[in-house]
């Protein structure tokens, strides 16, 4: 019994002395969020919507013209029936009117299709405006870190360095790489659990090869800063 107790005590001592390298570490790094808006696609959709809108108005104008023309011809027809001898012209005009009306009806049928397409295009535009897309990869230049992605998302989180105040990132979307350069300053902070953390403030986009971007105006600290880039 005594031996068992001694072995147990020794065992406790051994496991209590087991060094634990990760026991006193916290997993944290400053990050910011990026949103990428495909402005070209939005422009294409806007163009399509404009064309559809123009066609709608043209169609309405054509229908109105045809109605006026038909009314006029009916008046002429009545005049002819009351004594005129323009029967052959009347027949030609009636055929022409019927032809135009047929075209107009076809246009109306097509327009019914555009009534369905327009909301879909608007929905697609709204979806693009949220930033939903698939990024091929994000590379932190100067390091060997490349993050590849399989799924679409609206925001993309990138880490900032503990020890630097400048980072370059290469963002590849649909096979096209674009550059983002960020500047910031790091500081230490003690959180509520008394973890000492490295955070970043004054985060700004220095340069980028994206078409345009919305820079951070105030409270530009990690975890809260979101940059939107347009391409």
């Amino acid at each position: 019994m005594k031996n068992s107790l001694s072995i147990f005590v020794i065992f406790l001592l051994i496991i209590s002395c087991d060094p634990c390298d990760d026991c006193d570490s916290v997993s944290f790094e400053p990050t910011i969020s990026l949103i990428f808006i495909n402005q070209d696609s939005i422009q294409s959709i806007d163009d399509s919507l404009a064309i559809i809108s123009f066609n709608d108005s043209s169609l309405a104008a054509n229908i109105d013209s045809l109605s006026i023309l038909r009314d006029s011809l009916e008046t002429i027809n009545d005049s002819i029936q009351n004594g005129g001898d323009l029967n052959s012209e009347k027949m030609a005009l009636e055929d022409w009117i019927m032809s135009r009306q047929s075209d107009s009806l076809l246009f109306v049928i097509k327009n019914l299709g555009t009534d369905t397409i327009t909301p879909i295009l608007n929905q697609t535009k709204a979806s693009i405006n949220t930033g939903l897309l698939k990024v091929d990869q994000i590379e932190i230049l100067g390091t060997s870190n490349v993050f590849s992605y399989e799924d679409s998302a609206t925001t993309w989180s990138i880490p900032l360095s503990y020890n630097e105040d400048f980072n370059q990132y290469e963002i590849t979307i649909a096979g096209v790489p674009r550059l983002i350069e960020l500047s910031y300053s790091t500081f230490q902070e003690l959180d509520q659990e008394r973890n000492v953390l490295i955070r970043a403030k004054d985060i700004q986009v220095v340069t980028t090869t994206f078409d345009s971007f919305d820079n951070c105006e105030e409270n530009c600290v990690d975890g809260e800063t979101i940059f939107t880039f347009y391409f």
């Binding site: 006193d24 570490s25 916290v26 997993s27 880490p159 503990y162 659990e193 490295i198």
Partner: protein, 220 residues
């Protein structure tokens, strides 16, 4: 709202003064003009086997006409509290002293009781090591050493003490208890991560701290 320990100290103070006024003491003929005592805090010696802290503390007491003490206490501490940095190691090491005076009186034939005040000062250093790992694994773990030397802190104390004679016919050895109420006056604040433990006082963000000491006194 008054904290319970403040009520306790206040009531003990009143009791001390009350007993001091009502108890009969030896005749003036036997009163010693100066009584010299040395004492050690044996409670702190119990911290030596632990890995949380190591403390030594003792004091010199000159008791004039068996009523009015002049007290000098000195101590040394190595503090390694678990909660200083959750993601790192921490050690505060330093020395401190307290000087003060007060009023003592005999409570019973074997017991003394007293109230006194202290000014205290600590000189210490802090050493630590911070560990942060990268969740994205995009960079090396962050490790930083914290080393601060020659820090100082000052505070005041109200001390209620009582002791009892260990030997039947001798005042040579006495065992006692000191109840302290510490009030931090100032310390060398640090940014962005402030001082955590002050040897002799306690945690820097506690502006008032109650404490208790068990001591063994040798009276000459």
């Amino acid at each position: 709202m008054v904290k319970p320990y403040l009520l306790f100290i206040f009531s003990l103070s009143l009791s001390t003064l009350s007993f001091a006024q009502t108890e009969q003491v030896d005749s003036l003929a036997s009163t010693r003009s100066v009584t010299t005592s040395l004492y050690i805090d044996y409670g702190k010696l119990l911290t030596i086997p632990t890995n949380i802290e190591t403390k030594y503390e003792g004091g010199l007491e000159l008791l004039f006409i068996e009523k009015f003490p002049l007290i000098i206490e000195v101590g040394q501490a190595i503090l390694t509290p678990e909660g200083a940095y959750s993601n790192g190691t921490y050690e505060s090491e330093g020395t401190y002293f307290r000087v003060g005076t007060g009023y003592f009186n005999q409570f019973t034939a074997k017991n003394n009781i007293g109230i006194s005040f202290r000014y205290a000062s600590s000189t210490f250093s802090e050493n630590g090591r911070i560990f942060i790992s990268s969740p994205s694994e995009s960079q090396e773990d962050y490790v930083q050493n914290i080393k601060r030397e020659d820090l100082t802190a000052n505070w005041f104390e109200i001390v209620l003490n009582t002791d009892m004679r260990l030997l039947k016919d001798s005042d040579l050895f006495r065992l006692g208890l000191k109840l302290r109420f510490r009030m931090l006056a100032n310390y060398d604040e640090q940014t962005p991560i402030d001082v955590y433990s002050i040897p002799g006082y306690g945690r820097s963000f506690d502006k008032t701290i109650p404490a208790a000491n068990f001591f063994l006194k040798v009276t000459f």
